[in-house]
C-alpha cells in the first residue's frame, strides 16, 4: 500500500463520520469484543483438552476430519462442512446453558416458545409442525416453489399415492387395510390456542377430499375427530383428551379410540387379559422440545392414570397393528412415562377390546414409512396369513406439505414386499459365536441424528465371514444390526467402513431387546439378521 492516496470519484457517496470516542475507551470496547468472541471457545478448548488429557485443538481436528472425509465419508464435501459447522456449535459447552436461559427468559417475559413448541393458554403447549400441517397446503395441492426454495425438497412423494399403492399391495395378498389417523391436538383444543370457540373439530380444509381419496384407494378409514370432540365435551369427569404438555393423546382418548376401532372391526368378546391400574408421570415431549433449564423448569409433571393390560404382541395373529409413538406412548418408557415398559399402550388396549392378541409393529417417528417397510419385510407366507392391517398414524404426517414434511423428516416411500418364504429364526450357539468378517455393504443412514424424528436407531451392515473365532460359522454372508445412534449421539458402529475387517460377537436379533424396538435402517431387506454391539476393527 503506497502512501499516495488516489482520488475517489464516488467520495460523495461516503457519509461523514465523527468518532467521538477516546482512544482508551476504544481500546476497552475492542478488548471486550475480542474477549467476547475469543474467550468462550478458547476456554471450551482448554476444558476439552483437560478432559482428553492431550494437547490438541479439537475443532481443528474435526475440521480436518471433515475435509479429508474421515468423518461422514459417504457425504459430499459441502455436506461434510455443514455437518462440521453444526457439530461445532454443539461442542461449545457454553451454548446449552445459554440457550436454556434465553428460552426461559423468552418464555417468562414474552410467553414465547420456539421453533417446535407454541405456548398456548392456561399452560397448554402445542407442536408447531402440527399447526403448519393443519393450515398449510396439504397433501392434494402441489406446494408452490420458487427460485429461493430449497432444491433438496424436490424429490418428495406425497402420502396419497404411497398409501394407495400400499393398499393395493395388501389387496393383492387378500389383506384388508384400516387407516386410523390420530387427530392433531389443535383440532380438538383450538380454544387453548386462539381463545375463540369452535363449533366442532378444526380440520384441514382438504380433509373431506383426502377422506374421499383414501376410500377410493380401497382402504377403510376411521376418523376420530368427532369422537374426540364429543369426549372433550364430557371432559369434566374423564379428564382431557390430550395431554397438556405433550403432543400425544391422553389414556382416556386412546382407550376410546381402541374401543371404537374394535367396534368398527366387529371384534369383541374373546380372550380376557389381566388388568391393573398404575399412575405415571411425565413432563411432556413439548416441554422437552422447549429445552429449558432442568433446575428452573416452570412446567409441572403431568400425571396420568393408566390401565395396564397384560398382553403381548403375537406375530402369528391375523391382525397386524402398524403405528408410531401414538401406539407406544404408554408402553415405551423412552417416550417419558415410566422407567420400564408399562404395557398400557394402544396396542394392549386394542388387544383387550378385540379379545385377542395382535401382531404389533410400532416405531416412534416411523409411522409413515418405516413400519410399512418392516411389515413388507415379513416372509410372503406370513403376510398372506394376515387378514387385517391396522395402520395408526399421526394425522399430522398425512397433512404436512412437502417442505414441512421434508423439514420434519417425514417420508412417504413405496415399499417392496418380500417374495421369499419363511426360514428358521437365527440362533446363536450356546456360549456365543464370534467371527472376523469384512464389510461388503452398509445401509444408508442420516448424516445428522439431530434431524431425525427418532432418537435412537440401529442399522444393517452386510459382512463376508473370513474366520470363526469362537462357536460355529453361522453363514458365509451375515446381515448384522448395529446400534447407529442412541439419544441422538452416534455410536462407534457408525464408523464402519466398506472393505474393512472387524471382529464381531454375534447375538440373535430376536433376543436383542430393547434394541429390537428401535428404528431399523436396513437396505438389504434382511430376513435373517444378527445383532452385534460394537464391531472391533482389525488392523
Amino acid at each position: 500500500m503506497s502512501s499516495q492516496p488516489l482520488p475517489n470519484p464516488y467520495e460523495h457517496e461516503l457519509p461523514p463520520e465523527v468518532l467521538r470516542i477516546g482512544r482508551g475507551a476504544a481500546w476497552l470496547v475492542t478488548v471486550l469484543f475480542i474477549s467476547l468472541i475469543g474467550l468462550p471457545p478458547l476456554l471450551n478448548d482448554f476444558r476439552e483438552m483437560g478432559r482428553e488429557k492431550t494437547v490438541r485443538w479439537l475443532p481443528g481436528e474435526r475440521f480436518l476430519a471433515a475435509v479429508s472425509g474421515q468423518d461422514h465419508p459417504r457425504q459430499s464435501l459441502p455436506e461434510r462442512l455443514k455437518l462440521f459447522e453444526s457439530s461445532l456449535a454443539e461442542h461449545l459447552h457454553f451454548v446449552a446453558p445459554l440457550r436454556r436461559s434465553a428460552q426461559l427468559a423468552m418464555l417468562q417475559g414474552l410467553h414465547s416458545g420456539n421453533a417446535k413448541t407454541v405456548v398456548g393458554l392456561e399452560g397448554w403447549l402445542f407442536y408447531r409442525p402440527e399447526i403448519k400441517a393443519l393450515t398449510g397446503y396439504g397433501p392434494l395441492r402441489e406446494e408452490p416453489r420458487s427460485v429461493a426454495s430449497d432444491p433438496s425438497v424436490r424429490n418428495w412423494q406425497p402420502p396419497l399415492p404411497a398409501i394407495a399403492k400400499f393398499a393395493q399391495q395388501l389387496k393383492e395378498r387378500n389383506v384388508e387395510l384400516w387407516i386410523v389417523p390420530v387427530p392433531m391436538k389443535e383440532s380438538i383444543y383450538p380454544e387453548m390456542l386462539t381463545s375463540q370457540t369452535a363449533a366442532g373439530p378444526v380440520t384441514h380444509p382438504q380433509q373431506p377430499q383426502v377422506a374421499e381419496e383414501l376410500s377410493r384407494s380401497g382402504a377403510k378409514v376411521l376418523w376420530l375427530d368427532q369422537l374426540f370432540w364429543e369426549l372433550k365435551k364430557q371432559d369434566a369427569e374423564g379428564g382431557p383428551v390430550y395431554l397438556k404438555q405433550d403432543t400425544h393423546w391422553s389414556p382416556r382418548a386412546m382407550e376410546a379410540a381402541a374401543a371404537e376401532l374394535a367396534k368398527s372391526l366387529k371384534e369383541g368378546a374373546g380372550q380376557e387379559f389381566s388388568r391393573s391400574e398404575i399412575t405415571a408421570q411425565s413432563r411432556g415431549d413439548l416441554v422437552e422440545k422447549l429445552n429449558l433449564p432442568d433446575h428452573d423448569n416452570p412446567f409441572p409433571m403431568e400425571s396420568v392414570n393408566l390401565h395396564v393390560v397384560v398382553a403381548k404382541s403375537d406375530p402369528q395373529s391375523p391382525i397386524v397393528l402398524l403405528g408410531d409413538s401414538f401406539v407406544n406412548i404408554y408402553d415405551d418408557p423412552s417416550l417419558g412415562f415410566g422407567e420400564a415398559p408399562l404395557s398400557a399402550g394402544f396396542a394392549q388396549h386394542l388387544m383387550a377390546a378385540c379379545g385377542k392378541p395382535i401382531h404389533v409393529i410400532a416405531k416412534n417417528g416411523g409411522g409413515a414409512t418405516t413400519v410399512r417397510e418392516q411389515f413388507a419385510k415379513l416372509p410372503d407366507d406370513v403376510v398372506r396369513q394376515k387378514k387385517v392391517v391396522i395402520w395408526v398414524l399421526a394425522a399430522r404426517d398425512l397433512f404436512l406439505s412437502r417442505s414441512e414434511a421434508t423439514a420434519n423428516s417425514v417420508e412417504w416411500l413405496d415399499v417392496t414386499f418380500n417374495s421369499q418364504h419363511s426360514v428358521p429364526v437365527t440362533t446363536v450357539p450356546e456360549g456365543g459365536s464370534e467371527v472376523e468378517a469384512v464389510v461388503t455393504g452398509i445401509s444408508e443412514f442420516p448424516a445428522d441424528p439431530r434431524t431425525t424424528p427418532y432418537a435412537s436407531a440401529v442399522f444393517c451392515v452386510r459382512y463376508r465371514v473370513e474366520r470363526v473365532i469362537a462357536g460355529s460359522k453361522p453363514a458365509d454372508e451375515l446381515f448384522i444390526y448395529h446400534p447407529l445412534f442412541q439419544k441422538r449421539e452416534f455410536q462407534p458402529a457408525a464408523a464402519v467402513q466398506m472393505g474393512r475387517r472387524y471382529r464381531l460377537k454375534l447375538q440373535a436379533w430376536n433376543e436383542a431387546l430393547p434394541v429390537f424396538q428401535q428404528t431399523l435402517l436396513d437396505d438389504f431387506n434382511t430376513l435373517d439378521p444378527y445383532y452385534a454391539e460394537i464391531p472391533i476393527p482389525i488392523p
Binding site: E13, I37, R99, S112, I131, P144
Partner: protein
C-alpha cells in the same frame, strides 16, 4: 458461512482479524483473499473456481484496457463474459421454461429442459460479485479508476468477504484508493465493532422473528389465511426483508471498518419515504446507484425527452427486478416500481399526494410497497393473487384460519410488531445512530450483541434473505 452463525462469530472472525493484523502490510491482501475464498467456498468449494475464473478474466480485460490498445475489446470481453456467467447460472433454465410456456401457449411442441439444465445450482452471491468484478473494467474504461497494482489486490477486491455475497455492491472506483492506502485506528475499529454488533442484533432479534411470522402467513394454504393475517403477514415480510438486508449491510460495513475499509451505505430509513422515487434513494442504494450509472445513464437517462425517460426508468426497474431472481414475479415487482417511478416523474410537482400530510404520504407509500412485496415474496402469480385477494377480504376462510390468526396475534408477535414499527419509524437508523460514536453507544451495541447471541442459540440461525439473489 453466515455472519450470524457460531462458526463465524467464534472462530472465523477472530481468525481473519488475527491473520490480517499479524501479517506484514504487503501480505494483508493475500491473506484476506485466502480467507475470503475459504468463507465463500464454505457453501460449496467448487464455487471458488468460478469466482477465481471470473476474477482472472476481468483482471486480464483490465490489463487490455489499461494498455490502451484494445480498450473496447477488453470492455466487451469483460461485460460479455460476466453477463454470460450470470445468464448461464441464473437465467438459463428460466429462459428455457419461459420459451416453453410461450410455445405451449401457441400449441407448439417444446421439449422438456434437459437434465443438465434443471440441475444447475446458483452459486451463492454470484449476482453481487459479477457486478463488482465487471465494474472494474467499466471504471477503468471510463477513467474513473487506475488499474489494480497487482492480481492479488484485484482478487482481494472481488472476493472481500465482508460484502461478498449480499452487498453493498462496491464499485472498483470507490475502493481503488483504499486498496492502495487506508488508515487503521483503534477508534475506527471500534466503529466497525459497534456497527457489526448492531447489525447482528438486528438480524437475530428482529429479522428472524419477523421471518417466522411472515412464513406463517405466506405458507398458509387456501382457506387458512384471513384478511387480518394476510396484512400482518405482508407487514412482517416488509419488516423482515428490511431488517435482514440492512443488518447484513451493517455487518458488512462494520467488518469492512475492522479491516480499514469504508463501504458505501446501502440503506437510509427506506420506509420513511414519502414516494417511491424517494424509496429508491433510500433502499439498496448500492444497487440503485449501480443501475443508474451503468444502465440508466448509458441508455440516455433523462436526456432524450420525457417519453424515453419513462421507458428507461421502466427498463431499468424491470432488469433490476430480474436481477433479484429468475422468476416472473420479480419482473412484475420491478415493473410496478418502474411504473410508479414514471408516474411520479410525470406528475412532477403536481402529484396529488404533494399537499397531503407527511405521515399520511409515508403510510401511502408503505401501502404501495406492501403490495409490491407480495409479488416479491410469492412463489408464483397464483400465490400472489391468492394473497392479494386475501388482503382484499375476497377469500372464504375455514376454521383453520383461526390458528394462523392466533400465531399472528400472539403476545410475542404483537411485541415484535410494535418494536419493529418503533425502530423503523420513530428511531434513527444504524448509520445515524453510530455517526457520532460515543462510549455509551458502543457499549450498548456490545450488550445487544450478547443478547442476540443468547437468542441465536435458542432459535438457531437462518441465512440472510438476499443470499438467494
Amino acid at each position: 458461512m453466515v455472519f450470524s452463525s457460531p462458526l463465524f462469530v467464534f472462530y472465523f472472525l477472530l481468525l481473519s482479524l488475527g491473520v490480517y493484523y499479524a501479517s506484514p502490510v504487503r501480505w494483508r491482501h493475500a491473506g484476506l483473499s485466502v480467507l475470503s475464498y475459504i468463507f465463500y467456498g464454505w457453501w460449496n468449494p467448487w464455487f471458488m473456481t468460478l469466482m477465481f475464473g471470473s476474477t482472472l478474466v476481468d483482471y486480464g480485460c483490465g490489463r487490455l484496457i489499461a494498455n490502451g490498445r484494445h480498450r473496447k475489446a477488453g470492455l466487451i470481453i469483460s461485460v460479455t463474459s460476466n453477463l454470460l456467467l450470470l445468464g448461464f447460472f441464473k437465467y438459463c433454465h428460466f429462459a428455457y421454461q419461459s420459451l416453453g410456456a410461450v410455445a405451449g401457449g401457441l400449441g407448439w411442441h417444446f421439449p422438456a429442459a434437459p437434465g443438465w439444465m434443471t440441475g444447475i445450482v446458483l452459486p451463492m452471491g454470484i449476482s453481487f460479485y459479477v457486478f463488482q468484478s465487471m465494474s472494474y473494467c467499466i471504471d477503468l474504461y471510463r477513467g474513473h479508476a487506475p488499474p489494480a497494482k497487482s492480481f492479488v489486490d484485484f482478487a482481494c477486491f472481488v472476493s472481500l468477504y465482508p460484502q461478498l455475497v449480499a452487498g453493498p455492491i462496491v464499485r472498483y472506483g470507490s475502493i481503488a484508493h483504499q486498496l492502495q492506502h487506508r488508515t487503521h485506528s483503534v477508534e475506527a475499529f471500534t466503529a466497525g465493532i459497534a456497527r457489526f454488533c448492531l447489525g447482528f442484533a438486528k438480524k437475530v432479534l428482529l429479522a428472524d422473528a419477523m421471518g417466522q411470522l411472515a412464513e406463517t402467513a405466506f405458507k398458509a394454504g387456501p382457506g387458512s389465511l384471513s384478511t387480518l393475517s394476510a396484512w400482518l403477514g405482508v407487514v412482517a415480510y416488509a419488516f423482515q426483508i428490511y431488517f435482514d438486508f440492512s443488518a447484513y449491510s451493517d455487518m458488512a460495513i462494520g467488518l469492512g471498518r475492522m479491516f480499514g475499509f469504508r463501504f458505501i451505505e446501502n440503506f437510509n430509513s427506506p420506509y420513511k419515504s414519502r414516494s417511491i422515487t424517494e424509496f429508491w434513494r433510500r433502499w439498496h442504494i448500492s444497487l440503485s446507484t449501480f443501475l443508474r450509472d451503468y444502465l440508466y445513464i448509458p441508455l440516455g437517462g433523462n436526456r432524450l425527452g420525457s417519453g424515453r425517460t419513462y421507458v428507461n426508468l421502466l427498463t431499468v426497474m424491470l432488469i433490476g427486478g430480474l436481477w433479484h431472481g429468475a422468476q416472473w414475479t420479480f419482473v412484475i415487482w420491478g415493473g410496478i416500481h418502474g411504473v410508479m417511478l414514471a408516474v411520479e416523474r410525470m406528475m412532477g410537482r403536481k402529484a396529488p399526494s404533494d399537499g397531503v400530510w407527511r405521515p399520511l404520504r409515508v403510510i401511502m407509500t408503505f401501502g404501495i410497497l406492501l403490495v409490491t412485496w407480495v409479488f416479491f415474496r410469492a412463489e408464483n402469480f397464483s400465490v400472489a393473487w391468492q394473497f392479494l385477494t386475501a388482503m382484499a377480504g375476497c377469500q372464504s376462510v375455514a376454521a383453520s384460519a383461526g390458528l394462523v390468526d392466533a400465531l399472528m396475534l400472539s403476545r410475542v408477535a404483537l411485541v415484535y410488531f410494535l418494536a419493529a414499527g418503533l425502530i423503523i419509524w420513530a428511531l434513527p437508523n444504524s448509520q445515524q445512530l453510530l455517526m457520532r460514536l460515543t462510549m455509551g453507544r458502543a457499549l450498548g451495541c456490545l450488550l445487544l450483541f450478547v443478547a442476540a447471541l443468547a437468542v441465536l442459540f435458542q432459535q438457531g440461525y437462518s441465512p440472510f434473505l438476499y443470499f438467494q439473489f
